[in-house]
C-alpha cells in the first residue's frame, strides 16, 4: 500500500513545505505585499506612483541581492519550492502535442516517470521525466516523483523505442530519489536503475538531460547518462540529500546546510567540476516567480544543446558520451 504509507510519511514533510514562501524570502514577500496593497488602493486623490516605483526598485534590488548569492541549502529549498514549475508544466508548455506512452510491459505503470512522443524543433522526440505533482492529490498519484522499478523499466522501453526510430531523447529530472520500499526491492530497483543507465549510455541518438528541480541520487542519474546534462540555475543535483548526508556524517539532520555546502550540489559547482554541460538561466527571483519565463529559457537552452549533439554522427555521439563520463574526476577541477 505505498500510497497510504506515503501519506503518513512523506506527505507530512511536503505539507510543511506547502506554505508558499521560503524563510530567506520573507523580506521580499513583505515588500511585494506592500506593493500589491498600494496597487489595490488606486485612489485618484493620492499620487502613489513615486512610492510604488521606490518600493518596486527596492524589491528588485533585494531579489537580485538574495538570488545572486543563494547558499547551497537555500537552493535546495528553491528547487523544492511547491510553486516551482514541475515536469507537467514542461510538458504542457514545450511539448503540447505529446502522445503519452505507459507501462513497462512487465509489471505495471508508474506515474512517477511519465512521457512519450512529441515534436520539438520539427523533430519527433522522446520525452521522459519525473513528475512530483503540484498539489497533494497529484503528489500522491505521482508518488512524489519517487519511481519504482517499473518506472525505470518504462524509461528503458521508451529509450529503446527512441533508438529504433532515431528520436532524440529529452529527459527531465526532478526527484528526491528512487522509492525505497519492499516491493521496489523485490522487483529489482537496483537492476532497473543500473539497466536504465546501461541503455542510455548505449544509445546512438542524442540524449539531453535537464535537472529542473531536485536531482536525487541514483534515481536521478538513471535518466541523466546523457550527451549534454543541463541544470536550471537554482536546481540541485546530489549523490544524497543534504539531510541524509548530515544524519550519517554529522549524526544529525540539523547539519543539512553544512552538508549541502560540502557536497557541492549547485549547478554552478557542478559546471566547474565538469559534471554538467550548461546552466539554464532562471528569471530573477527563481522559476517559481515566473514559470513561463523559466520555460522560455529552457526551450532556448534545449534548442541550442540539441544542435550541438546533432553535429556528431551516431557512433561518435555514443563514444563521446562515454568519454565525457570517463573524464570526470580524472583531473583536479
Amino acid at each position: 500500500m505505498p500510497h497510504r504509507t506515503c501519506r503518513c510519511v512523506v506527505g507530512v514533510l511536503s505539507l510543511s513545505r506547502m506554505n508558499n514562501y521560503l524563510d530567506f524570502e520573507q523580506p521580499i514577500l513583505e515588500l511585494e505585499g506592500k506593493i500589491a496593497e498600494l496597487k489595490r488602493m488606486d485612489d485618484p486623490q493620492l499620487d502613489l506612483r513615486d512610492e510604488l516605483k521606490r518600493l518596486e526598485e527596492k524589491a528588485e534590488k533585494l531579489l537580485k541581492q538574495t538570488y545572486g548569492k543563494l547558499t547551497p541549502w537555500q537552493k535546495v529549498q528553491v528547487a523544492r519550492h511547491p510553486a516551482r514549475p514541475r515536469f507537467g508544466k514542461v510538458l504542457s508548455t514545450l511539448f503540447p502535442d505529446l502522445v503519452t506512452l505507459a507501462g513497462d510491459r512487465c509489471f505495471g505503470e508508474d506515474a512517477a516517470i511519465i512521457g512519450g512522443l512529441a515534436t520539438f524543433e520539427g523533430y519527433t522526440v522522446m520525452v521522459i521525466g519525473q513528475e512530483r505533482g503540484a498539489d497533494l492529490q497529484s503528489r500522491l498519484k505521482h508518488n512524489f516523483g519517487m519511481a519504482k522499478p517499473e518506472g525505470y523499466r518504462k524509461a528503458q522501453r521508451m529509450m529503446k523505442l527512441a533508438e529504433q526510430y532515431g528520436l532524440p531523447v529529452l529527459t527531465f529530472i526532478d526527484t528526491p530519489g528512487a522509492y525505497p520500499g519492499v516491493g521496489a526491492e523485490e522487483r529489482g530497483q537496483a537492476e532497473a536503475i543500473a539497466r536504465c543507465i546501461d541503455v542510455s549510455l548505449g544509445l546512438t541518438v542524442p540524449v539531453l538531460a535537464t535537472v529542473i528541480g531536485e536531482g536525487g541520487s541514483g534515481g536521478a542519474i538513471a535518466l541523466a547518462a546523457a550527451d549534454r546534462v543541463l541544470m536550471f540555475e537554482h536546481a540541485v543535483y546530489s549523490v544524497i540529500s543534504p539531510e541524509g548526508c548530515a544524519s550519517i556524517l554529522w549524526r544529525s539532520a540539523d547539519h543539512a546546510a553544512e552538508a549541502a555546502e560540502a557536497l557541492k550540489i549547485t549547478a554552478q559547482d557542478l559546471l566547474r567540476l565538469g559534471v554538467i554541460d550548461a546552466i539554464v538561466p532562471e528569471p530573477l527571483g527563481g522559476a517559481h516567480r515566473h514559470p513561463d519565463a523559466a520555460l522560455h529559457s529552457l526551450r532556448l537552452a534545449l534548442n541550442e544543446q540539441l544542435g550541438l549533439t546533432l553535429k556528431h554522427n551516431p557512433a561518435e555521439r555514443r563514444y563521446q558520451r562515454g568519454e565525457k563520463f570517463l573524464a570526470m574526476g580524472r583531473k583536479a577541477a
Binding site: P180, V182, G218, S238, A262, G322
Partner: protein, 307 residues
C-alpha cells in the same frame, strides 16, 4: 600495449601460499550462531562457520588466493586519480579519513584488480575491500573497475567483479554518483568485446554499487546470506513504517525474486567461476551468432589506443 603500460603497469606480486601468523589457541566467535571455533580452523575454512555455514568477512588477499589456480595471481597498478576533489570536511577531513584507511589497509583505495587463471581460464578480477571506508565507491574505485575492464578486453579474458560495498562515497559528492555511469561504460566495453562479465555479490552490496555495474552481470552469483539491495533496510522501514519480511535483501531472497542466478559457497566459488567462464568462451561456438549487440566495437578499440 603502450597505452596499457602507461595506465596499468603490471606490478609483479605473485603470491605463494603463506600461512597467516595466528596462534593456534585463539578462538573465533561466529557472528551468526555464536559458536566458538578455533581461529586456525576458521581461517582454514575460508572464514566460513563450521556450525552454521555463515560466510564471515574474508580479507582481500585471502579471497584472491582462494580464487586463482595455485593461489597465483598478478595485481596491476591502478591509475592515480585526484584524492578529495571537493576538499570535503564533515566532523573530520575526508583527506584524513582516506589516509587513515590507506595506512590501516596498506591499499590505495577500496578496489583492487588482479589477473591470472581460474579453472585454467584467463580472468581479470576486480575485488572490493569492505574494510576500506566500507568499500565505498569514489573516483578511484570507478577508475579501478574501468582499468579492469580494459585489461580484460586486452587480454581477451573474462571479467569477474566481486563487490562488497555500502554504496557511493559521500565525501566525493556528485563525483561518486558519476561512478554509476563510468563503471557501466566498462561493462559495455567487455560486453562489446564478446567477453563474459560475471558478478559475485558478497556481503554487503548496497546503494549505488548495486544500482550500477553489480547488477549488470551476464551471470550473477552471490555468496550465501549476503545483504544485497538498493535502499538500506532502515530507510525502508522508516518509509513504510512496517516490519521487513524475514530474510529481506539476503542472497536467498534475491534468488527467489529472480534477481540473481546462483548462490555459491566460498568453497565452490573458484570451480564455478572457471566452469562458467569456460562455458561462455567455448571456441567451438565462435561464429554461431552475428556477433555482440555492439554497434561500434571497432570504434571503441581503435580510439582507446590513442588514450
Amino acid at each position: 600495449m603502450s597505452w596499457l603500460s602507461e595506465i596499468v603497469r603490471p606490478k609483479i606480486r605473485a603470491f605463494v601460499a603463506k600461512k597467516p601468523d595466528i596462534p593456534d589457541n585463539l578462538w573465533h566467535k561466529c557472528g551468526n550462531c555464536g559458536e566458538m571455533i578455533f581461529h586456525r580452523d576458521y581461517a582454514g575454512n575460508a572464514n566460513v562457520c563450521h556450525h552454521c555455514g555463515f560466510h564471515g568477512k574474508l580479507p582481500l588477499k585471502r579471497r584472491l588466493e582462494l580464487l586463482f589456480d595455485g593461489e597465483e595471481y598478478t595485481r596491476i597498478e591502478l591509475p592515480k586519480v585526484p584524492v578529495d576533489p571537493l576538499k570535503f570536511k564533515d566532523r573530520k577531513r575526508y583527506s584524513d579519513r582516506h589516509k587513515d584507511a590507506q595506512t590501516a589497509s596498506k591499499e590505495q583505495d577500496a578496489c583492487i584488480v588482479a589477473h591470472g587463471l581460474i579453472g585454467g581460464q584467463n580472468v581479470v578480477v576486480a575485488a572490493f575491500n569492505f574494510e576500506f571506508m566500507g568499500g565505498s565507491m569514489g573516483t578511484a574505485v570507478g577508475e579501478a573497475l574501468y582499468a579492469g575492464a580494459r585489461l580484460a578486453v586486452l587480454q581477451k579474458a573474462a571479467y569477474i567483479v566481486i563487490p562488497s560495498s555500502g554504496g557511493a562515497r559521500m565525501q566525493e559528492g556528485i563525483l561518486s554518483l558519476m561512478q554509476m555511469a563510468r563503471t557501466t561504460i566498462g561493462v559495455q566495453r567487455v560486453r562489446e568485446a564478446g567477453l563474459p562479465y560475471i558478478v559475485v555479490l558478497t556481503n554487503p552490496t548496497t546503494g549505488g554499487v548495486t544500482a550500477s555495474f553489480a547488477m549488470l552481470g551476464d551471470v550473477t552469483l552471490a555468496e550465501p546470506g549476503a545483504i544485497i539491495g538498493f535502499a538500506g533496510a532502515r530507510v525502508i522501514e522508516e518509509t513504510i513504517r512496517e516490519k521487513l519480511p524475514p530474510g529481506f535483501q539476503r542472497s536467498e531472497y534475491l534468488l527467489e525474486h529472480g534477481m540473481i542466478d546462483r548462490i555459491v559457497t566460498r568453497k565452490e566459488l573458484a570451480a564455478e567461476l572457471g566452469k562458467i567462464a569456460q562455458l561462455l568462451m567455448n571456441k567451438k561456438n565462435r561464429g554461431l551468432s552475428s556477433g555482440t549487440q555492439a554497434a561500434t566495437p571497432q570504434l571503441f578499440l581503435s580510439t582507446a589506443k590513442k588514450a
